[in-house]
């Protein structure tokens, strides 16, 4: 027995996740016991107010995630969900839209009783973001919910809208008094990437929020960090004894972090043109993956310790001395991708024919720490590549001495440890093995751990996990402004260089990227892993 009921040490919040709870729950709940691993964390009474409910993300991910949380019993009694958009809808119309979204996209089975109960708390406020009256109406709506449904004056505002609209909405929240809790209940604001398009705009964006919401109430969602496999990187590295001793320059030759997409830009031309692959995914997702892979062990799995280590390693990132040879970028041209003929980037609707936006970017970064000095981290991200795949690959050095004849090990490559983030989440280890037979011949084989195939069925979707963390107020999985700024500090010089440089190279859709990216690797005597 580790703690008696009533013992103050026994009253810490029960948190079954890899990452510990940091928000102290009320200290006097005798029903919570850290040994009681069955009882999950449940959000307290609250209202979730969502801006941008007509968007794709809201329909495909957020609304289903709200339902799934309710279905898993993780939302509190009386939980309410308010939509705000420029639509002439009544509460029932919005409930119908939510119902459709849930039916189509929820991951847990649809239960009428859960929906009935959830729909009682669904409200809609019509209006545009510069409409004072609409926001006053919203303020009345949430206060009514407090009175009717006991939501306790706790509001989370989810801004699923373009960043250009943030200032308007945030100012309106302030003007209408919604952002001020007056000491009763909490206020939280959730924003989605992109967090700016360079350091200056990221700071500007932050300044918009800063005067209105304190930094600890701002939750920046990078849905990659909500993925089980990403959190599993921490478990793999720090809960095991096998990997950490070789997780350094003594054994690792280089690291490749890849995010490949098979799709083109689709309908996102307006957003994508002028942004490009590096700003779109490298600045946030790939640098976060780099940070988790390269960081030192945090003192504890709480928000502050994790962020401290991530910030340390991000500030140790060094750019290549020559940006011309240490980076590569490309644009997909027309070609055949996955058996279909597709248009080139410059021919996509809404993209100017002289656009210099890259759809493929690759960088070589160094990490100036004792652990990683001299080990290059290669990052690449692109669209219209052969398949969709995100992975972190640690490529190990060759054995210093092989007691076999050279011909025996001709086919032996580097050992590798690959963490697959999506799809088919899991871990692959590549090592040499004897080919059965009388001759001594060693060849590469793979050993696979399929995290995805075995556990995804009921493991929560990233948004589900993140939404719950917002409602509970548990911040470890959310990047802080400092991390965002460090990301831009790394990327800005590269973007400046690219802007002053020639146009991106062309690569046929469905190929593995421009020739310059392979040349970049070849100069270092290395090669990209096959996509």
């Amino acid at each position: 027995m580790t703690a008696e009921p009533g013992d103050p040490q026994g009253l810490a919040p029960a948190s079954p996740g890899v990452i510990a709870d940091t928000e102290a729950l009320l200290p006097h709940n005798p029903l919570r016991d850290p040994r009681d691993r069955r009882i999950p964390r449940v959000a307290g009474p609250c209202v979730l107010v969502m801006f941008g409910v007509t968007g794709d993300l809201a329909r495909k991910k957020l609304m289903p995630a709200v339902y799934d949380l309710a279905n898993r019993g993780l939302l509190p009694p009386g939980f309410s969900f308010v939509g705000f958009a420029r639509r002439d809808w009544a509460d029932e119309d919005f409930a119908q839209v939510t119902y459709q979204a849930v039916k189509e996209n929820a991951r847990t089975p649809f239960r009428d009783s859960v929906w009935q109960q959830l729909s009682e708390g669904v409200r809609f406020v019509p209006g545009s973001f510069d409409d004072d009256a609409a926001f006053d109406q919203l303020a009345r709506c949430v206060r009514e919910l407090d009175a009717e449904r006991g939501t306790g004056g706790n509001y989370a505002f989810y801004l699923s809208i373009p960043p250009g609209q943030f200032p308007n909405v945030v100012q309106q929240l302030k003007r209408s008094g919604l952002s001020d809790s007056g000491g009763h209940g909490w206020r939280r604001v959730v924003i989605e990437k992109p967090f700016g398009h360079d350091l200056a705009s990221a700071r500007e964006l932050n300044a918009t929020l800063d005067g209105v919401f304190p930094p600890e109430s701002v939750f920046r969602i990078d849905h990659y960090l909500g993925k089980e496999t990403v959190q599993n990187i921490l478990a793999l590295r720090f809960a095991n004894e096998m990997y950490e001793p070789i997780w350094n320059r003594g054994y690792v030759d280089h690291v490749q972090i890849t995010m490949a997409e098979d799709i083109g830009i689709g309908g996102r031309a307006g957003y994508y043109d002028g942004i490009g692959a590096a700003r779109d995914v490298i600045q946030n997702h790939l640098l976060q993956l780099l940070a988790l892979t390269a960081m030192e062990e945090p003192a504890a799995f709480d928000a502050d310790s994790l962020r401290m280590e991530k910030e340390k390693v991000l500030s140790a990132v060094r750019l290549p001395a020559d940006l011309a040879t240490g980076t590569a970028r490309g644009q997909y041209s027309a070609g055949w991708q996955g058996g279909r003929q597709v248009r080139g980037f410059l021919e996509e609707d809404g993209i100017p024919a002289d656009s210099r936006t890259e759809t493929y970017a690759a960088l070589r970064l160094g990490v100036d720490t004792r652990r990683w000095a001299g080990v290059p981290f290669y990052l690449r991200a692109g669209k219209r590549l052969p398949r969709r795949m995100t992975e972190i690959a640690l490529i190990f050095q060759r054995a210093p001495h092989l007691p076999f004849a050279a011909t025996d090990t001709e086919e032996l490559g580097h050992n590798a440890l690959v963490i697959r983030i999506q799809p088919d989440e899991g871990i692959t280890v590549r090592f040499g093995s004897k080919v059965p037979g009388t001759a001594m011949e060693v060849r590469d084989v793979n050993m696979d751990f399929a995290y995805g195939a075995s556990f995804t069925e009921s493991s929560p979707e990233a948004y589900e996990r993140l939404l719950l963390d917002v409602l509970i107020g548990d911040p470890p999985l959310f990047p802080r402004q400092q991390e965002v700024e460090l990301g831009w500090r790394i990327l800005d010089p590269i973007e400046d260089f690219w802007a002053s440089y020639t146009k991106p190279d062309q690569y046929p859709a469905g190929s593995g990227g421009p020739a310059s990216t392979d040349a970049m690797m070849a100069r270092d005597g290395r090669a990209w892993r096959r996509l």
Partner: protein, 302 residues
């Protein structure tokens, strides 16, 4: 694929398994545990189905031990299912005659290496699960008091013979209620004077919840009866009035709190796959269950 082996032994079963896995292209065996189900022919279908559904979350080797015709001559028949029930493997072991008394000799060589063993008695459990021949192999022993004819007596027995690693599905069924109760007391609450749990007569889960509340809160908690379904109400007397969670329809609960609006929340009953999946999620001894069960048996919880 399904492979039937009649009058066989464990090494033939092993060989058949290896061959089947090869024929399926040698899928990686990412199995996280071995689950032994001790059952009979009439109940095996539901239990194995629940286990293979739970197996999507916990890929496992499922060994169903089915004893048949105790008077017949000793014989072992095996039915191996690989590749079509989910990520794991299922082996139905039908034991005839005296062999039925020595199931452990069949099961031991078939345990998946290096992973924990869980044994589950969906129906009648042995008098002392921890010292049972099969129970002794396992880290975790799952019984179900609700399936016995005398659930309350069964809980008493389980309390007497409790060993770390024992657990009961009637405790698993309490999780959604306990979650909601814990969440309710996350907010500041008035002094609790006494409590009451209302449920169908003979509902062991209600007994456990009452005992748990009594132990945790240090107040008397009465176990009352209602017409169901399952547990219908948990309430606390406070100086300000009654705090009450009521679920009359088995689906939606209403939280009543003096001076506050009524709040509703879905609270549905769960079926076997969900229960067994929860049971397999954590394999360390459940100390809270042990305390609750002990208090229930001692009558101190209420």
């Amino acid at each position: 694929m399904t492979i039937d082996l009649t009058d066989t032994n464990t090494s033939s079963i092993h060989e058949a398994l290896t061959q089947a896995r090869r024929r399926l292209g040698g899928p990686a065996s990412g199995m996280v545990l071995t689950l032994i189900i001790v059952t009979d022919e009439s109940a095996q279908y539901d239990a194995v189905r629940a286990a293979s559904q739970a197996g999507r979350e916990h890929p496992s080797r499922v060994l169903a031990v089915i004893t048949r015709k105790p008077k017949a001559e000793s014989r072992l028949d095996a039915e191996i299912r690989v590749g079509d029930t989910g990520p794991g493997e299922t082996i139905l072991l039908r034991m005839y005659g005296p062999l039925g008394q020595h199931a452990d000799s069949v099961v031991a060589p078939l345990l998946a290496p290096d992973v924990p063993v869980v044994v589950w008695w969906p129906d009648e459990a042995p008098p002392a699960p921890g010292t049972d021949a099969l129970g002794a192999v396992a880290q975790r022993r799952v019984t179900d008091a609700a399936a016995s004819d005398e659930p309350q007596e069964m809980l008493q027995t389980l309390a007497k013979v409790y060993q770390p690693g024992d657990t009961d599905l009637s405790w698993t069924r309490s999780t959604p209620w306990r979650t909601l109760l814990a969440a309710t007391l996350d907010q500041p609450y008035p002094e609790l004077v006494s409590g009451e749990v209302l449920a169908e007569p003979g509902n062991p889960t209600a007994d456990l919840i009452a005992s748990w509340l009594g132990v945790r809160l240090g107040i008397p908690v009465r176990r009352g009866e209602s017409s169901g379904p399952g547990i219908t109400e948990v309430s606390f007397e406070t100086p300000e009035g009654k705090i009450m969670l009521a679920r009359p329809d088995g689906r939606t609960a209403t939280l009543t709190w003096p001076g506050r609006p009524e709040r509703r929340v879905a609270l549905h009953r769960r079926d076997a796959p969900d229960l067994i999946a929860e049971e397999l999620r954590r394999l360390e001894p459940d100390e809270v269950y042990a305390e609750t069960l002990r208090a229930l048996a001692a009558g101190t919880g209420q």
